[in-house]
């Protein structure tokens, strides 16, 4: 055996040693492209950005005084939500995204204005939100969720899912929630904790509508599971473009230390 042959065999050995984690047991779990549903196109969330419209009381949108939702909060988290509502009513609960520095996270990514693309691939499902340039990844390659010791709480968490016919079912864990007070579900001040987890069932209910049924469990904040349904309508405009969204590009509404949203004149000076 010459030196070249030895080098080739050594290289193959090293490659094989590192490859099992990429391919072991995966091939049989992938749903082939031709068996996946067609969710192509550009989609827009229906209704306003009140996250749980089914339990909304009060008239108007998420920034209007008196509007709130009624998740099955325990007393402690109901009080926290009520405090956020009071700040909202006093115009002192700025949208955390007004600081232009943090992602919307999950589940708020399901509750954004502007448009979405839903990218269906055998090994993953990607939610691409135009607003804020937010992205969510749901892995459908058969991997398991990381164990509790391997989760540290992020805006969007970690998600794995599988296809049940034309329905994508996924589980999201590892969310940071309201832990750092920079992740909300909507601008009423609706929040969940870093113990929140979700199961989502998402499917196309007709040619132009995709529905996501999200059920949340939260041992710190909720007294029972909470289910919220959102729908997304396909744009009738063919070949529509989706654009970027740089929140800091022309930020003339920064937030001061009291939580007040400022308005800047063209020289950058606050006028309120």
């Amino acid at each position: 055996m010459n030196k070249t042959t030895i080098a080739i065999l050594l290289g193959l050995s090293v490659s094989l040693a590192f490859s099992p984690s990429l391919s072991y047991g995966q091939a049989s779990t992938l749903t082939p492209f031709d068996k996946l549903p067609d969710w192509s196109g550009v989609w827009a969330m229906q209704g306003g950005t009140v996250f749980d419209r089914a339990t909304q009381t009060g008239t108007g949108g998420s920034v209007d005084i008196g509007v709130r939702e009624h998740p099955p909060y325990n007393a402690e988290w109901e009080a926290m939500y009520a405090a956020n509502l009071r700040l909202r009513d006093d115009n002192r609960f700025p949208d955390v995204q007004t600081n232009c520095g943090v992602p919307a996270g999950f589940p708020r990514i399901m509750n954004l204005p502007d448009v979405f693309e839903f990218v269906v691939r055998p090994e993953a499902f990607w939610i691409l939100a135009e607003n804020g340039g937010n992205v969510m990844r749901i892995y459908t390659d058969g991997r398991a969720l990381p164990g509790p010791e391997d989760r540290w709480g992020t805006y969007t968490g970690v998600s794995v899912g599988k296809w049940e016919g034309d329905t994508l079912v996924w589980r999201t864990v590892g969310l940071k929630g309201w832990r750092d007070k920079d992740n909300i579900l909507d601008r009423t001040g609706l929040i969940l904790s870093d113990a929140s987890e979700a199961t989502v069932r998402m499917r196309k209910i007709n040619d132009n509508t995709i529905e996501a049924v999200m059920t949340f469990e939260d041992s710190k904040a909720l007294t029972k599971p909470w289910t919220v349904t959102k729908q997304y309508r396909k744009s009738a405009v063919p070949q529509q473009f989706v654009y970027d969204y740089g929140c800091a590009e022309n930020q003339r509404n920064p937030v001061d230390a009291t939580g007040k949203t400022l308005f800047l004149d063209p020289t950058g000076k606050p006028v309120n």
Binding site: Q240, Y243, N253, F263
Partner: protein, 127 residues
């Protein structure tokens, strides 16, 4: 034009109209602004067609005749672009009358409601 095409065109026009009258500002609340539109007229200085909100800079003569630069906030270019608005929609030098919700403290800052150009073309809820 076939009837189906006419129906589709009508539906598209209705959709565009409905989009045009949606509240333009979603990034922050409109607290501190009047909800009764006021008219201002002047000359466009600049149209900042940028995220998260567009701003129309317009020079308006005050009661003494002095020119004051107003800042009028509108929607994101992403939303407005889908409604046919372009950076050239408010070209520098254009004469425009606007309906706006002004800041209640008297600062020359306002939220866009509608506009009418010198050629009579209108945008948003001018009327």
């Amino acid at each position: 034009m076939k009837i189906a095409h006419k129906v589709a065109l009508a539906a598209l026009l209705v959709t565009v109209t409905l989009l045009a009258i949606q509240p333009a500002i979603a990034h922050h609340s409109s607290a501190g602004f009047s909800d009764r539109p006021k008219e201002i007229s002047g000359t466009i200085k600049e149209f900042q067609f940028k995220n998260p909100h567009s701003w129309i800079q317009i020079m308006v003569a005050d009661a003494s005749g002095k020119e004051v630069e107003w800042s009028v906030e509108w929607g994101s270019p992403n939303q407005l672009g889908r409604q046919g608005i372009r950076p050239a929609t408010f070209a520098p030098g254009a004469k425009v009358s606007m309906k706006v919700n002004v800041m209640e403290n008297g600062a020359p800052i306002a939220l866009f409601v509608g506009a009418k150009f010198a050629d009579g073309k209108m945008l948003g809820r001018y009327e």
